[in-house]
Subunit: 450 residues, 2 copies
């Protein structure tokens, strides 16, 4: 397997504490949240928006109540929960746009650095970016308004991140389905402004699907700029769901994952080996099955023998996955961690989702202890921080003082200094790994108790 | 858990050989394929089609070459493979529409009975039902032509199954998105004609999504008629895929599964407790994650705490799954069998996919030995036959002579008479089961060797 995190011989970024030579090191963790959110109260975006869009912005603001009512009807917004949430967290939630308050909240959670997606308020949407280009970014938006709204958010976000650039990697909104030169220009403007990653619509809607060659200049520019391209859960074909919340939640993680197989099978990762593509806040539980399915297909499984060969690829899907793809899996679940040797330990990036209620804030330390206490420390270091540093270009050396100051130690996560029994409990799962590549026809997912 | 197959106290249909009291019985297996295919060479459907559609049928026939070229371009059809396939299997493939040849092929495979879906020819589509209503059945078809084509196939299929009704359960094509009274009338006509199940479009296209109350009379009629409603892989939004075969194959199993969560979350299974819904030839590897995700959501996982309660359901998703849902998982994979305690052993129905090249024909006995040799015999009996008998209404007593005549014995599948060590090797996986319901936060998927 080519996952450098599964090959002890491959170089990997040195974590600030702990090392392969000392897997039980009690140095504090460098924690980087690969999925946080920030955004201005919507009306405050006005100064960041070109004047010619101000009238359209007034119309957008006037639609707020109707949009909130629709969300309440679908059940994504729960009035009772909302009231209590804002009462209980009034001060902390200002960290959604106030840098000083934010630093306090990150510190409290032990988070040294973060990747910053839009939409601070996931309860009342009071910080929606103009024209709905935040997490709902979709190929169906009006291209001109969409780009105007994205630029407004990106300008503000660059200012916000500049207050402490070592700790914040801002994700620029990129309405990918628009005119290509405009898209590439905004990408470069965002990079020059200090933003470090790109969020593209999870759904292309009526736009061209992401296998289309028209996007090649964008992928090339992203790779050249060293900006990972990410989808984030949010957009979904709600018009098909009626007011059935369960349907929405059941597939809102599928749509952002969908571009992955469009890029992979159409050879985008072959043509752009430096491109990094990630999927945020959609879990990673679905990845092992997908990978198994795609690898087997490519490697000649019986079920595909009637098909033409996959000539557009030069290597099996898992090699692209390990080289080009990562998952901002946010608040990783125990079920997902049990499958990490199939997913690839180095492909999983944890996140707190601050300041969203489905995340771990303000009890991240407690969540981490509950989730990671029996996971090997060296793997925990990758999932909680070093992989995100590598993907998003954080400098571990510069973050080390923060990690020392606020990072929880392995002992604080309940992880024993003697890591031998921990390693032993995962040995069989680790050795089985991606069973379709290790000669095993059964998977082995789970811990082995002595 | 309410899965009767996981509760030793619950009644279950007696298999023709073997019993809970004698799990090592060497009686031959009753094998029922829950996924086979039959269809006339397209032009021969003419006498089954109402005369007023004959001109449209000529137009449809004239488009055959163009459709085949499009499939070749996408790679679903491979010229080299096709030539060899028809050379090697000329005689057996006539079993796609010839009852006598078919009986020979089923016997050779050890298959006592079968569920019969459309489209015998999955290589050249030379047996496509009129107007594309076979496996490509979609809500986007012209409602009048679609119903005409469906009726033509259903009439022929009823004659075909009547040649040996005990061994064939015919699946009527039901273009669900049309006018409701017409749909219900065709359902009843098909039942009166002796067909036993209903295939509905995997995709509703521009039609109403399946949560819509307009379909309630159809669900009620299906439940009343005792006809399971099934989707089958085939339809997919190909216009989004370009000519990228891998994209098509990666999601052609998602679209037929999609109706499951539309039905479940919109309360269809609550309103129609007798309705059975199945998903065919889409594997079952995706089911454990879906169930885990839906159950957790319903049972109050942290990630859903900001949402409104799921008031439309009276019980957690897995209870509907075990009562109302089954999976025609076709040629089950070892990875899937390792997850059977999460899926529910009784929810998995094996199938040979005869006469499609991705299936197990004509080497079904060999496939079964390779796949099931270390699976407990009593569970194998359910997956290979008794669950399908129960879902599709086959009479095990009447099929017993066929089973005795052609069914492979457990020894022929390489299964040992002493089942103690086999049971022991699966004990931990079985006891962990659906870990989110058994108090375990890690799954345990895989076999334990002594």
């Amino acid at each position: 397997m080519s996952d450098p995190y599964q090959d002890p011989a491959a170089p990997r970024p040195a974590p600030p504490g702990g090392s392969p030579a000392d897997p039980g090191s009690q140095d504090p963790y460098l924690i980087i949240s690969s999925d946080c959110h920030a955004g201005l109260p919507t009306e405050e975006y006005r100064p960041y928006l070109e004047r010619r869009f101000h009238r359209a912005f007034d119309d957008f603001l006037a639609g707020r109540d109707a949009r909130r009512a629709a969300m309440t009807r679908l059940g994504v917004r729960n009035e009772t929960f909302a009231t209590r949430w804002f009462e209980d967290h009034e001060e902390g939630l200002r960290g959604g746009w106030d840098p000083a308050q934010r630093a306090k909240e990150l510190d409290g959670d032990g988070v040294a650095a973060e990747v910053v997606f839009p939409d601070a308020d996931a309860v009342d949407s009071s910080t929606a970016a103009p024209f709905g280009v935040g997490l709902g970014l979709s190929g169906d938006q009006d291209p001109e308004l969409g780009m105007a709204g994205a630029r407004a958010h990106n300008r503000w976000l660059a200012e916000f991140c500049a207050t402490d650039p070592e700790r914040h990697c801002g994700v620029a909104l990129l309405p990918l389905t628009g005119e290509v030169d405009t898209v590439v220009a905004e990408l470069r403007r965002a990079r020059d402004d200090g933003l470090g990653a790109l969020m593209v619509p999870a759904m292309w809607g009526a736009g061209a699907p992401y296998h289309d060659r028209r996007y090649d200049p964008v992928w090339a520019a992203a790779a050249e700029a060293g900006m990972p391209v990410v989808t984030h859960s949010g957009a979904a074909p709600r018009e098909e769901y009626g007011d059935h919340l369960g349907i929405f939640v059941s597939e809102v993680t599928w749509w952002p994952a969908r571009p992955l197989w469009f890029l992979l099978w159409s050879g985008v990762f072959e043509r752009h080996p430096g491109l990094r593509f990630g999927i945020a806040e959609s879990g990673c539980w679905w990845l092992p099955n997908l990978l198994w399915f795609m690898d087997r297909l490519y490697l000649g499984a019986h079920g595909g023998k009637k098909l033409s060969p996959f000539a557009g690829l030069k290597r099996p899907p898992h090699e692209y996955l390990d080289r080009n793809v990562f998952v901002c899996a946010t608040n990783t679940k125990r079920r997902e961690l049990a499958q990490r040797y199939e997913i690839g330990v180095g492909n999983i990036l944890w996140g707190s989702d601050f300041p969203h209620p489905e995340g771990t804030w303000p009890r991240t330390r407690e969540w981490l202890a509950n989730t990671f206490h029996d996971i090997p420390i060296d793997e925990t270091r990758r999932i909680l921080g070093t992989s995100a540093a590598e993907v998003f270009g954080f400098d571990p050396a510069r973050l080390a003082p923060h990690a020392r100051r606020i990072g929880p130690t392995p002992a604080e996560l309940g992880q024993p200094a003697d890591q031998e029994p921990v390693a032993a409990s995962w040995r069989r799962a680790r050795e089985t790994g991606r069973h379709w590549l290790t000669g095993q026809d059964f998977p082995y997912v789970g811990v082995t108790h002595a």
